[in-house]
Symmetry: C2
DNA sequence: GTCTATAAAAAGATAGAC
DNA sequence: GTCTATCTTTTTATAGAC
């Protein structure tokens, strides 16, 4: 396990934050370098090009996703409920990384699209043994996708009727009842 | 009902297509003008700036959304089923416009975010009388959001296990059973 | 209404000093 | 490893001819 240079990680963090907060167009190398507290030249020492920077973020997503699945598998409230609950939170490193990579995917980065698809397949494999049948499995995955999609909108302007505590619990109950 | 100039509509169509196919960054005024078969100067006669072009697309979304709700309200198979089915299709004018506007929303366009939120509220109002309770209503909306979110990924690289005919029917059945 | 030409700013990337 | 300076290309926008 080689420990990556601090500056390198700071650049990836800054790139992620700008992608999520302001979008792909705002996430220039200039803006990323400034937010990370380095110069453009400094950034280009760690990532030789814009696409190298993007590839590094995609690799980070794959690592975080594997860790997340392992955690959910051991959750007390059950895999389905734990998965849905983690889809609502938009603050974790995995959550922001998914949103950042989905910005790249939506701007024509095919590696980013494939990676998101693989993450979804990881979840699918993890959830399958805990759902009634394939239809139920798809329903859980789609509700989870829906929670993410809404998180995307909330980050921008008008916060929608995001599910607070009790309402989220009732939704999770309903999905668990309908699918397990 | 004033009939809008043909060139104007062609520009909006081209802008939409590029946003959906290649992303926000690719949707420059130059590329849009070329795809619409006009010059940059011609485009700028109809839309005085980039943001004017974006605003016009948002306005088009609101019109299409109102028409869509009216159609679904009169569907034979029921409002919930018809809504879910229309969330799967990614070819209709409304569908591509939603995807295009969501690209703008994800690049910091607040008006686009608000508009998407309003469209979702329109659906919510339309579905509420046809669902068992608030939890069921949210479940239908989230599955619908999930279908859209997946359509976004499919448009790029690896087409995921998108629900074909029979599987989609089973999913709709299950959601209808669980929510109405 | 539509075009060409061009200005002004911002983007990615390179070179070389420290 | 990190910086400044500079080059090239792209993007938005303006001016003015037709």
């Amino acid at each position: 396990m080689s420990r990556p240079p601090l500056a390198r990680e700071a650049v990836l963090d800054a790139f992620t934050r700008i992608l999520v907060d302001d979008g792909e167009r705002a996430a220039t190398m200039d803006a990323t370098a400034r937010a990370a507290g380095v110069s453009k030249g400094g950034l280009l020492y760690h990532f030789g090009s814009k696409s190298a920077l993007e590839e590094a973020l995609v690799r980070r997503l794959e690592e975080l996703a594997r860790e997340d699945v392992a955690e959910i598998e051991s959750a007390d409230e059950g895999v389905v409920a734990a998965h849905l609950r983690s889809s609502q939170n938009t603050g974790s490193p995995l959550d922001v990384t998914i949103l950042a990579v989905s910005r790249l995917a939506q701007n024509g980065n095919d590696a980013a699209s494939s990676s998101l698809r693989r993450v979804r397949e990881l979840w699918e494999e993890s959830l399958r043994p805990h759902t009634r049948d394939e239809t139920a499995l798809q329903m859980v995955l789609l509700v989870s996708d829906g929670l993410y999609f809404n998180a995307v909108l909330d980050l921008n302007a008008v916060p929608g009727p995001s599910l607070e505590g009790a309402a989220l619990d009732r939704l999770i109950d309903a999905v668990v009842t309908a699918t397990t």
